[in-house]
Symmetry: C2
Subunit: 228 residues, 2 copies
DNA sequence: TCTACCCGTGTGGTCGGACCACAGGCTAAG
DNA sequence: CTTAGCCTGTGGTCCGACCACACGGGTAGA
C-alpha cells in the first residue's frame, strides 16, 4: 500500500464515521504526516487527490477558510474526469450525447409530476432572448437552463452528472458552432423549444416534456454534426 | 495557476492533439519537471491526480510496463468518487438506486433491439445457481451480470457509470444483507428474475426487459431497506 | 477610550537534493 | 551459445528549507 493511500483511507473512514463533516477541516499537512508516520509530500499527494475529487478545497493563509476544508462538490471533478477521457478518444461523443438525452428526458418526466417553481427558469429564458448574444454567452445560459431542469427532478446524482456532461462538452460545442448553417436561425429554434418544454412542465405533461427535451438535444447535436 | 496544473493541462492538450495515445507513456517525472521548469514534487502531484482519474497507471522498474503508462480506465476513479461522496452523506443512497434503475432499464430496452450474444451472460447465471454461495460471492456474480447487461446496450459511458455505481455501493449492500428476512429465499427470487430478464432480451421484448430490470432492482433495495 | 495599523503565526505552495526498491536490458564470464 | 550478475533508469519516499498569504491580536496613535 502506497503511503498516500493511507491518508485517503483515513479520510474516507473519518467521513463515513462522522468524524469529518462538511465544513470541517482536515488536520494540517504537517500534523497528518506526523500522525501517520509518513512525510509531508506523501500527505500532499493525497490531499491533491481529495481536492481533485471535490472532497476538500485548499487555501493558504489563516482563519476558518484556510487549510483543507471539507466540501462535497462532485461537479468539477466529474467534469474534469469526462474531459480527460473524452480527450483520450476512448469515450465517443455520441455516447455522451445519448446519455444526456436519457438523463434529461427522464428528469423532465420526473419533474412534471412534482410541484415546480419555474420563475427562475423562465427568467433564464428571458435573458436568452436578449439580442446580440454571442454563441458563447448563449450556451452558458443554455447550460444553466438545462442544469436547472435536471435539478427539478430532485436527484442530486443525476443533476451532478448532467451538469458535468454539459460542462465537459462545452468546448466541443462551441468549436462546432461554425458547422451550423445559420446560427441565428438555430438560436431562434432553440429558444422556441425551451419555451415549449417549460410549457409542458407547467401543464404537468411529463410525456410531452420528456419527448420535447429529447428532440431538443438530439436536434442540436445532429445539426452541429457532433453526435459521432 | 498552481504548478501541478501545468502538467494536467499539458497532458490534456497532448491527449487532445494526439501527441499522447493509449498505451503510450508520459515523459519521466524528472524530464517533465525540467521541461516545465517546475520541481519533481509538483509533477508527482499531477501524476497522482491523473492516476486517480484513471488516465495513467504508474509502475516502478524499467521496460515498457514501467513508468506512467497512458490508460483510459474510468471505472475505478468513478467508483472512488462515488464512494467518497457517499461517505459525506451529501449523496443519498436513494438517488444512487434511482439512477441505477434509470440506467439499467434503459440499457435493457436498448439492448433488446440489438443482435445479442447472451451465452456469456447465461453462463454467469448458471454459476449463480451453485449451492452454498455466500452472499458476498453471490453479489460479485450479480454485479458481473448487471455490468454485462449494461454493456449490451453499447454505450461505454453508461456502462462505466453503471459499474461504478454498483461497485461504490457494494459495501453498503453487503452490510444490509442481515436486514433481509430470509437470504436464501431472496436469492431464489433474484435468480428467477435474472432468468426472466434474459428471456425477455432473447425475445427482443425491450419493454418487458426494461420493466423487469426496474422491478428487480427496486425490489431488492426495498427488501434490504437501502433506498433511503 | 477608541481606532487603525502592523507584525506574529500558522497555513498551504514550492523547491532541491538525497536515497531506496524495483525491473528490464546489457555485458561479460562460463 | 547460454547464463548469471551488474548497470541504468524508473517511480516511491523522505528531509529540510523557504516563500506567499491571510487572519487576528497587540500596540501605537488619535
Amino acid at each position: 500500500m502506497k503511503n498516500y493511500e493511507l491518508v485517503l483511507h483515513r479520510v474516507e473512514a473519518d467521513l463515513a464515521a462522522g468524524r469529518l463533516r462538511i465544513g470541517g477541516r482536515l488536520p494540517g499537512e504537517r500534523a497528518l504526516a506526523e500522525e501517520l508516520k509518513i512525510s509531508r509530500p506523501s500527505v500532499r499527494e493525497a490531499v491533491r487527490v481529495l481536492e481533485a475529487m471535490g472532497i476538500v478545497r485548499t487555501a493558504t493563509g489563516s482563519g476558518p477558510e484556510a487549510g483543507a476544508v471539507i466540501v462535497a462538490e462532485p461537479v468539477s471533478p466529474l467534469t474534469a474526469l469526462l474531459r480527460l477521457h473524452l480527450a483520450t478518444n476512448h469515450l465517443p461523443m455520441g455516447d455522451v450525447v445519448q446519455t444526456r438525452i436519457l438523463l434529461e428526458s427522464w428528469a423532465a418526466r420526473e419533474a412534471a409530476g412534482r410541484p415546480l417553481e419555474l420563475d427562475a427558469v423562465a427568467d433564464l429564458l428571458d435573458r436568452m432572448d436578449a439580442p446580440g448574444l454571442s454563441p458563447e454567452e448563449f450556451h452558458l445560459l443554455d447550460a444553466e437552463f438545462h442544469v436547472a431542469l435536471a435539478g427539478l427532478a430532485g436527484n442530486v446524482l443525476i443533476a451532478a452528472v448532467m451538469e458535468s456532461l454539459r460542462s465537459a462538452i462545452h468546448g466541443y460545442v462551441l468549436a462546432a458552432v461554425p458547422n451550423l448553417p445559420d446560427w441565428e436561425a438555430t438560436a431562434v429554434g432553440l429558444r422556441g423549444e425551451h419555451r415549449a418544454i417549460i410549457a409542458a412542465l407547467a401543464k404537468g405533461d411529463g410525456d410531452a416534456a420528456s419527448r420535447l427535451v429529447a428532440a431538443h438535444i438530439q436536434g442540436f447535436y445532429q445539426a452541429a454534426q457532433l453526435s459521432s
